[in-house]
């Protein structure tokens, strides 16, 4: 079973964050696998009770593995994540970047363990400088990408794409470097063919899994009634031990505060407007006549249309894209004349427009900006409080 734990660890790590080493302790591996399975909704308590040294549980792990095949679609995710990149990829995900796991206790403390605040200021300044220079580089990169895309239009054999990526353009210059890329592509094609074979065999696999469950049932291994045993600890109690849960709880709290505050504002505004409106209705004849109801209906329709974009906020989420997208330069043409050249696919690949992504990013930017300002405001309040306690000094904020 040790190997099975390790296998699951490696596979799950690829989906969850990507960095692992051979030397990761088995205890840590086991904990991670248990957590990841819980995260994906695998609820069997037997799994959680397996020993931490990975010495037992191969059958339970088999069940868990089968769960993973379906629940986050383990195979598909692995294929997608490890895909060979031939294009200019970028992600459209607005989620927070995963910070690399840093060591605690960086060693910049002075002789008595004190840090000069000027050092902090300096570091912060340097960080800002890096951000600026990164911005400049990105802008430069986008100019060059655009040029390559623009100038190689019409050359790509995949008419869906239409132009070369940087990698492909470089192949022109150094065709002898093709080899490595070819090898990667070939091995990926082999993997894909293996995947197709798996799909053929799938019925057999699931039937087998059912027999495994049957065996377990016969052995009386079904879980004892959990009822009183397992107490459902609600999230707040759990947050102390799990950073992920803490983060999630924090996000929920913040979101709820934001929404409630906004709701309050909205209530007031609506009340105001309503009052004004009813006043007008009372005083103006034309609003009480039938004629207005036609206008009213039209207004309602147009507003429904306008607000349609909002329904997506509450609807169950369509799959948001966290993965990579290939950047493609394409004119805004409503009727896309796709002539399918050598590529087999008859369906246009899923396409997202940059304008949409930009809009989402703007929303995200606004929301993050607000969060930052709230934090800063908190600080201001607290510091003002401190300043008031100071004798003989007045603090004037900029």
């Amino acid at each position: 079973s040790l190997d099975f734990w390790k296998l699951l660890y490696v596979l799950l790590k690829q989906i969850h964050g990507g960095k692992w080493t051979e030397s990761d302790a088995i205890g840590a591996q086991v904990r991670f696998v248990k957590w990841a399975l819980w995260y994906h909704g695998y609820g069997r308590p037997q799994l959680q009770r397996l020993p931490a040294n990975g010495s037992a549980g191969s059958r339970e792990l088999l069940l868990a593995f089968s769960w993973l095949l379906h629940c986050p679609g383990l195979l598909e995710q692995l294929l997608a994540r490890n895909r060979v990149q031939t294009g200019d990829q970028t992600s459209v995900c607005t989620c927070e970047d995963d910070l690399p796991e840093s060591q605690e206790g960086t060693s910049e403390a002075g002789p008595e363990g004190r840090v000069d605040v000027r050092y902090l200021q300096w570091l912060h300044g340097r960080l800002r400088l890096q951000w600026c220079s990164l911005h400049a580089q990105h802008q430069e990169q986008s100019k060059l990408l655009h040029k390559i895309h623009l100038f190689t239009r019409g050359s790509h054999m995949d008419q869906n794409l239409g132009h070369f990526s940087v990698t492909e353009a470089d192949l022109i210059r150094h065709p002898e470097n093709c080899k490595q890329l070819l090898q990667l592509l070939e091995s990926e094609t082999t993997q894909l063919e293996a995947f197709l074979e798996w799909k053929q065999l799938e019925p057999v696999y699931w039937q087998w899994m059912e027999t495994v469950l049957d065996d377990m049932a016969e052995e009386g291994n079904t879980c004892e009634s959990q009822g009183a045993d397992v107490e459902k600890r609600r999230l707040p109690e759990v947050t102390s031990c799990c950073p992920w849960a803490a983060k999630l709880a924090g996000q929920m709290d913040r979101l709820s505060r934001d929404l409630l505050a906004l709701q309050e504002q909205l209530h007031q505004l609506v009340a105001q407007r309503k009052a004004a409106w009813w006043e007008k209705v009372a005083t103006r004849e034309e609003l009480q006549k039938e004629r207005f109801s036609a206008t009213a209906r039209k207004a309602q329709e147009s507003i429904e249309l306008k607000l349609r974009g909002l329904t997506s906020l509450c609807a169950p989420q369509k799959t948001r894209m966290h993965g990579l997208c290939r950047l493609v330069l394409r004119n805004k043409q409503p009727a896309s004349k796709m002539a399918f050249g050598q590529c087999v696919s008859k369906e246009a690949a899923a396409a997202v427009s940059a304008a949409e992504v930009i809009r989402e990013l703007q929303l995200r930017e606004a929301s993050l900006q607000r969060e930052l300002q709230q934090l800063q405001q908190q600080c201001r309040t607290r510091l003002d409080g401190i300043a008031e306690g100071l004798e003989g000094v007045i603090c004037i904020s900029p």
């Binding site: 802008q139 430069e140 799909k199 909002l310 087999v344 995200r364």
Partner: protein, 378 residues
């Protein structure tokens, strides 16, 4: 074979250039040369690989290639193209000295003195001078043009085209491949049985997994900004009665959306899983696409239509990332710095400390408060 004298010249020029420019080569650039790349087995490449020592010990750089990039980099210090998303290390030599011709080197030999002046304006970038970078290493046809002129006629190497087609056909087959009905049925039965072995009596069956909860929450996070945007878009004083009515309807619509959002959030909070069995410090949420597995097998295209859009996209992505970082920093600083001020008594010299901390925490380090002595005239 190029003559020793020409090689010497080449070497001297390279060294002079490198010294003069001192540009760190950490960024890749891919100046492209137009078609006929195969004919460009650059003889001097092999020789210069001994002569030129690059800063990073990459001794395979060709003289011309190196000087081209370094010249352009010096000419435009701002322009450090960060093509880091392409495959790494394109700075390979023009390998193979076998197909050298004397013509090759003489052409190069004459071009080199100009190298210092010409930037790598191959892409029509920055410099206004004519590009001759593409002409380097070309044996027969001088001035075969820039990428701009010839780009649409380029063809990828045949082996690549074949491999690419095979690969994308395989992807397509995988994407379209459906789970057979038998398999799907058996799988559903299996999943259900797994679920039933987990008895949470008070919960109905279809509770979302933590992954799903997280995903739903992410969707909601933009709700306040979005709603606020709509709210602020409504004019304060609508000109006509019709507009006023529409405005009112809009606001009411927003209200109902708002309450739906709050409801959804509440449900999520309730659904929040109780039983976190084990926890690992490495809990990083999965960033895969939840939902239909088959959709994962297609790389979606991100279509942009103009340079400005691309630039905005990159700028915004960076901005969002920077904001995430700033927020994280802010929290850490608050936790570390505020206690410092709150605990200690006010010492005479603390004004500076107070100002510094205030600026870091409240103004992002950009502005400073003013501390004024409060001296009343007695």
């Amino acid at each position: 074979r190029p003559s020793p004298k020409e090689l010497e010249e080449l070497e001297l020029l390279n060294r002079a250039l490198e010294k003069a420019l001192k540009v760190r080569k950490s960024i890749l650039e891919t100046p492209l040369e137009a078609q006929g790349a195969r004919g460009q087995k650059w003889a001097a490449g092999k020789i210069s690989s001994k002569g030129v020592t690059s800063k990073q010990g990459r001794s395979h750089r060709t003289a011309t290639g190196a000087s081209a990039r370094e010249v352009s980099a010096a000419a435009e210090p701002q322009e450090t193209p960060g093509l880091s998303e392409s495959t790494p290390n394109e700075q390979q030599s023009f390998s193979g000295g076998d197909s050298a011709t004397v013509k090759n080197s003489t052409v190069a030999g004459k071009q080199l003195p100009d190298a210092g002046k010409k930037s790598c304006g191959f892409l029509g970038e920055s410099s206004k001078k004519e590009d001759t970078a593409g002409a380097w290493g070309r044996s027969t046809s001088p001035g075969t043009g820039t990428l701009q002129e010839k780009g649409c006629q380029l063809k990828l190497p045949l082996p690549y085209r074949k491999a690419y087609s095979r690969n994308s056909r395989a992807w397509e087959r995988c994407r379209l491949c459906q789970t057979s009905a038998d398999a799907a049925a058996a799988r559903t039965r299996f999943m259900e049985r797994i679920q039933t072995t987990v008895s949470f009596p008070s919960r109905h069956r279809l509770t979302p997994s933590p992954a799903e909860i997280e995903e739903e929450l992410r969707g909601l996070q933009d709700a306040p900004s979005c709603l606020r945007q709509y709210m602020e878009a409504e004019p304060a004083d609508p000109p006509t009665l019709q507009r006023e009515y529409e405005s009112l309807l809009t606001l009411e619509g927003l209200q109902s959306t708002m309450s739906q959002c709050l409801q959804k959030l509440q449900l999520l909070q309730e659904d929040c899983p109780g039983d976190v069995g084990s926890c690992s410090p490495a809990c990083v949420p999965a960033r895969g696409q939840m939902g239909d597995s088959a959709d994962m097998l297609a790389v979606p295209l991100l279509c942009y239509s103009s340079l400005q859009e691309l630039r905005d996209l990159f700028a915004l992505k960076l901005r969002v990332s920077v904001l995430h970082q700033e927020i994280a920093l802010q929290k850490v600083m608050m936790a570390e710095l505020l206690p410092v001020l709150e605990a200690r008594p006010w010492l005479e010299g603390s004004a500076g400390l107070f100002r510094a901390i205030h600026s870091q925490l409240c103004e992002g380090g950009r502005r400073f408060p003013v501390l004024v002595r409060d001296e009343l005239l007695d």
